[in-house]
């Protein structure tokens, strides 16, 4: 009995090691095969973005809420405009990127950032969240960004199925030092809602089909490019492109 057990005890170990090898090797191959989906797009898009023309109706589409939620100078030559939904997971994932980029270019008067609300219908609390951010913005424009930050970083809490989002929004409002009574009345008032609706109208006119959608001077930045490095590349290219015509202005303007 002992012997037969010893004789067979090697087999299970062999099977286990075999499975481990198959899993590791197979997993590695599958991992390598899965990666190209992101790689070519990152490699191919910079040129695509550069050659891309601004969306045809970008300048003529309804302007959205005025004044927009904006960081930077209104006269900047490069405009980064993000359409996002506070309840969308990929918008929350893109939030740290956008935050990093906005602070990286904060000193550059040629770059400005605009946030547009584009709450999707499938997200039950997204519209309310957009209204909450706008209501905060009615108190001061910096409060809009602070509220947006709260909404994105706590998304998994208030967006949870059984969460009482509105009372959580009040907590965030308190946390960022808003006048709570005013916030409450602005939440139910028309002004904040109108601003959200105006942004939505602009987004629909621009045929936005997913969030986040980021425009840089009217050109859509592919979602795979919405990374720290990708955004820098696109913005820097646009900064260069907008700086060059000024240098070449004599020849360009002569035809005017």
């Amino acid at each position: 009995m002992k012997e037969s057990k010893k004789g067979s005890s090697g087999i299970p170990v062999v099977i286990i090691v075999l499975v481990l090898v198959v899993v590791v090797v197979g997993g590695f191959i599958f991992y390598r095969q899965s990666q190209p989906t992101s790689k070519p797009s990152t490699a191919a898009t910079p040129s695509k973005t550069q050659n891309q023309q601004p969306q045809a109706n970008y300048a003529t589409a309804p302007p959205g809420a005025q004044p927009p939620n904006m960081l930077g100078s209104p006269t900047a030559t490069v405009t980064v405009e993000e359409f996002a939904d506070f309840q969308c997971g990929s918008c929350a994932a893109a939030h740290p990127v956008m935050k990093e980029i906005t602070s990286a270019y904060a000193g550059n008067k040629n770059v400005r950032f605009i946030f547009r609300n584009f709450p999707l219908q499938m997200h039950d609390k997204a519209y309310d969240a957009a209204v909450a951010a706008e209501a905060a913005g009615l108190q001061s424009s910096s409060k809009f960004w602070q509220m947006g930050d709260q909404l994105f970083t706590n998304q998994h809490i208030w967006a949870a199925q059984n969460a009482d989002a509105r009372s959580l929004f009040l907590q965030y409002a308190e946390k960022i030092g808003l006048d709570i009574e005013k916030f409450k009345s602005d939440m139910s008032g028309m002004q904040a809602k109108t601003r959200v609706d105006q942004d939505l109208t602009r987004g629909r006119a621009l045929a936005i089909s997913s969030t986040p959608t980021v425009f840089v001077n009217g050109k859509v930045v592919p979602y795979a490019e919405v990374t720290s490095a990708g955004m820098r590349r696109v913005i820097d290219a646009e900064l260069q492109a907008t700086a060059q015509p000024a240098q070449n202005a004599p020849s360009g303007n002569s035809s005017n």
């Binding site: 009995m1 002992k2 037969s4 057990k5 067979s8 005890s9 087999i11 299970p12 099977i15 286990i16 499975v19 481990l20 899993v23 197979g26 997993g27 599958f30 991992y31 899965s34 990666q35 989906t37 992101s38 797009s41 939904d85 969308c88 997971g89 990929s90 918008c91 994932a93 999707l120 219908q121 499938m122 997200h123 998994h156 949870a160 199925q161 059984n162 936005i208 089909s209 997913s210 969030t211 986040p212 959608t213 979602y223 795979a224």
Partner: protein
């Protein structure tokens, strides 16, 4: 009873239990490896008006201190598989360890189902497949114990 004939208790007919447990664990292992790689390589998909977005695999619950939960699942299934294979060849202690392992996995799985249903509010198919394989393993273990006690 010598320590050679084991898992199967008195009847020789139930050796199929650890063997099928090993196969089911293998399925769970493949599933979690797939989920882990998917988690690592998936560029989060933007939320589309038409097709929605992947809530579950991109939720903060999908990782535990930076490691995808699915990777823990893969390790857990591999351990369960190893115990089941050892048990198939007559290692009784391995079968007991298998039971403990699978019971722990079932508890974690129940928690994950709760999260999907009540907190995240969305399910993912391959996570549910993993739940199914875990509960199947638990049921197999329970059956073997019931048979043994007869």
């Amino acid at each position: 009873m010598s320590d050679g004939d084991i898992q199967t208790g008195r009847s020789e007919g139930i050796a199929w239990i650890p063997v099928s447990a090993a196969l089911v664990a293998l399925l769970g292992l493949a599933d979690s490896v797939y989920l882990t790689i998917h988690h690592l390589t998936a560029v989060p998909v933007p939320c589309s008006i038409v097709s929605g977005c992947e809530t579950v695999l991109t939720s903060p619950y999908a990782e535990f201190s930076g490691v995808p939960l699915a990777a823990f699942g893969a390790v857990a299934y591999f351990i369960a598989f190893s115990f089941a294979i050892l048990a198939s060849f007559g290692n009784r202690i391995a079968w007991t360890l298998f039971g403990i392992q699978v019971a722990l996995m079932a508890v974690v799985t129940a928690w994950l189902i709760y999260l999907q249903a009540f907190v995240i509010g969305a399910f993912c198919q391959f996570c549910l497949l993993s739940a199914l394989t875990t509960f199947t393993l638990l049921i197999l273990f329970v059956i073997s114990k019931l048979r043994q006690s007869k």
